[in-house]
Symmetry: C2
Subunit: 225 residues, 2 copies
């Protein structure tokens, strides 16, 4: 497809729909298989993310094996128990009521890692900020997430997990950074609001509060329409 | 819009077009203004990225002031001169021929920062991995990038820059991390391939080489179709 044809109204709407209707899915996974074809499409979308110096520092582990997912679920349970201890009283009760992972329910997981020593890119763009390779990897994750949404696939990023234990379970070399563990599957619904907003854990910030003009602190609360 | 209507064929094509036709733009910015309406749309897209615990740790600095951009361009020039010294011979000549920023040509820049101490989210999901707030911020950047592509706006991420100097220029508080400096504008073209591929700096990795199954190293070169 030629790269310079403007987006049709409907194509543009598709992009904004993916962005606004994307959810961090944990509760509504369906026990339906995710085919290789669609999985390959969303992984290829991830692989076409921008990367510093065209380094492409990512790897993707596709995990379908139930025994492996069971081990990872146990890791999550333990990490979550520890994480919960930070909260007290009502906040603790609310925390305990949240469903924070769908590792067993989602039929497939994708673990995304970053190789800091990949030769590709020749170091271009990496001298000012050593985190740029991690940032490239996250761009790939967001590409996958939005492509998945367009395919009616839900994705949930599980960040409560012991990373060293997870690396051992999956045999990930020590020098690679484990960036994300994603649960993927068809869902019974995509909520209108994020789960954490529905549950009253947190509300959306006003856009105007996070925009500054030309210099930090120069804000215009009337600018956002 | 109800969240559970499947994407039409054309809406889905829009998502994949944004992903495959997005470019890291440095050379083809046009001297056309970028209106507040479209700028607001892509910033709101960024603001609807996933974030750990619904923390929304990002801030966006919109920079149109020519004097500010001139100072940042000077910062880039100096950082790039230093970066170039790593390369020798033919590789150095190739490096010197690359256009790596469009700070003066693009009419607007957006600097994206991460606030590690934002109260929102209450720390949920942040105990296992302290980088998750940075990852959320990068998800916002990729949302902006794809929305911009759907609006025919090019975006270039300038990673060759002295971060401390840039923070000083923009008055960014020390405790916030400067994640990205993005140049944004309409462009004369979106290349079919990335600039760095066209110029022979680096080529695209085969997708099969970065996919593993159930355990690191278990690869199937015939899997990708």
């Amino acid at each position: 497809m030629p790269a310079n044809v403007p987006f049709s109204e409907e194509e543009r709407r598709g992009v904004y729909r993916a962005i606004y209707e994307r959810r961090d899915v944990r509760s509504h996974f369906l026990p339906l298989p995710v085919g290789d074809d669609v999985l390959c499409r969303i992984l290829d979308a991830a692989h076409h993310a921008p990367s510093v110096g065209f380094m492409q520092p990512w790897d993707f582990l596709v995990i379908r094996d139930a025994a492996v997912r069971k081990a990872i679920h146990a890791n999550f349970e333990q990490a979550n128990q520890k994480a919960a201890e930070v909260y007290q009283g009502e906040r603790r009760a609310l925390y305990d009521s949240l469903k924070l992972a769908g590792i067993l329910e989602a039929p497939v997981s994708v673990c995304v890692t970053c190789d800091h020593n990949r030769a590709k890119g020749g170091g271009l763009g990496r001298q000012s900020d050593s985190a740029t390779d991690l940032y490239s990897t996250v761009c790939a994750i967001q590409n996958l997430w939005l492509a998945a949404r367009a395919e009616s696939l839900g994705v949930g990023w599980v960040s409560i997990v012991d990373l060293d234990g997870l690396k051992t379970t999956l045999g990930i070399p020590a020098a690679h950074t484990l960036v994300a563990y994603l649960c993927i599957g068809y869902t019974s619904e995509f909520g209108v609001q994020p789960d954490l907003e529905v549950k009253g854990w947190e509300c959306r910030e006003s856009l105007a509060n996070v925009i500054h003009f030309d210099r930090w602190g120069a804000q215009r609360k009337d600018w956002v329409r």
